[in-house]
Symmetry: none
Subunit: 222 residues, 2 copies
């Protein structure tokens, strides 16, 4: 049986396994969910029993096709709610995450399909993340790289901003890291990978920790 807790496990594992392109260590998931490793270990066995996880002791976690379907369904609901909250109700980008986090588990397939139609089939959520369609397929998107991967001397456009930490979100907004904003990489400090970036005519320094939080796409010939 699917519960809110299990849905959250599957969603978090899926997102993490895609990001690192391999099995997710228990301690990573434990930290992400704010839950003890023992609990993660326990739950993993249950999810594997239901054929939702690919799990062998000490080998980390990965969703099965069946588990992935549930994860994608929840992600789809989450992101469509985020669009609804911003576009229809006038929420700010940084206010929608927690709200969507609750709604995603209380939303039938029928309801989310109606919401999708009402919103005119959006393709990206307010942070620039793609919305899986009814069948769990992501639409085609431009190539997007994490900001920590950028090269000096090139132009980029902010493509995605992780919204999990509200404080960080607010900071990013303040320094101009918002969806669609264009920026130029002036320099990269060898010392700690701090990036010197020109944005809105100002040069600012962005730490490597902050760089992890958002992604960009290359702006050709700018």
């Amino acid at each position: 049986m699917s519960t809110i807790s299990k849905e959250n496990y599957l969603k978090a594992i899926f997102i993490e396994e895609v990001e690192r392109n391999s099995h997710v260590p228990v301690n990573i998931l434990s930290a992400k969910l704010g839950i003890s490793q023992a609990a993660v270990s326990d739950m993993s066995k249950k999810l594997a029993n239901e054929d939702l996880l690919d799990y062998q002791k000490y080998k980390g976690l990965k969703t099965t096709q069946k588990g992935r379907n549930i994860a994608l369904d929840i992600i789809r609901k989450h992101r469509l709610w985020e669009v609804f909250l911003t576009n229809t109700l006038g929420y700010n980008c940084d206010e929608v995450h927690d709200e969507a986090e609750m709604l995603e588990h209380s939303t039938s397939t029928k309801l989310i399909n109606k919401i999708e139609e009402f919103l005119n089939f959006p393709i990206l959520d307010p942070h620039g993340y793609p919305i899986p369609d009814k069948n769990g397929n992501f639409p085609n998107t431009r190539e997007i790289i994490n900001f920590s991967q950028v090269e000096v001397g090139k132009f980029y456009e902010v493509a995605r901003v992780n919204d999990e930490n509200k404080e960080v979100m607010n900071y990013l907004t303040k320094i101009g890291i918002v969806l669609g904003e264009k920026l130029f990489i002036e320099n990269s400090l060898e010392f700690d990978k701090t990036l010197i970036v020109k944005i809105r005519g100002n040069s600012i320094a962005i730490s490597s920790q902050i760089s992890e939080i958002f992604s960009v796409s290359l702006v050709e010939g700018a």
Copy 2:
């Protein structure tokens, strides 16, 4: 702490206590919620401990002011979601209940206030039940008086319309006297008790004979 389960208990008890105007027997609630009497007995103690229920052994259940506030909040969320599903997404009346039953527990105060605004402050849900406002005012529980008893300078809300005479009903509908409609009493003619009423931005005269036909409730602090 408030949980989905507790919210459901409080909602069911409140609705039932209003309907029968007295304490709710344990077996009635048990049947309503589809839960054993033992469980209801158990939970009642917990809710009473949190000062949400007025409960003495063998005496039945009733909400306290604090419990009533939670119940009204959930009912408000439920009914506003029902309006949203029908009016905005095109659900049929008979499809909205289960959907709203889930959403009501995953909806912040901020969100439901925005939804209310988006829907233009509806007063009744699709089944004709009144929607509690932000402050937990519940038209059903307010004192209802015949329109001939109103006082000049106050706001009222149409609470009941006698539908025995179809011709009169149509007339009332045309001038805006429909369930839930808000109005302001501008004046009362000494001569024949004709009332001058502001409704939907227009001032209209309502004869004393017509005034007998419908009832209103006072809208506090409007």
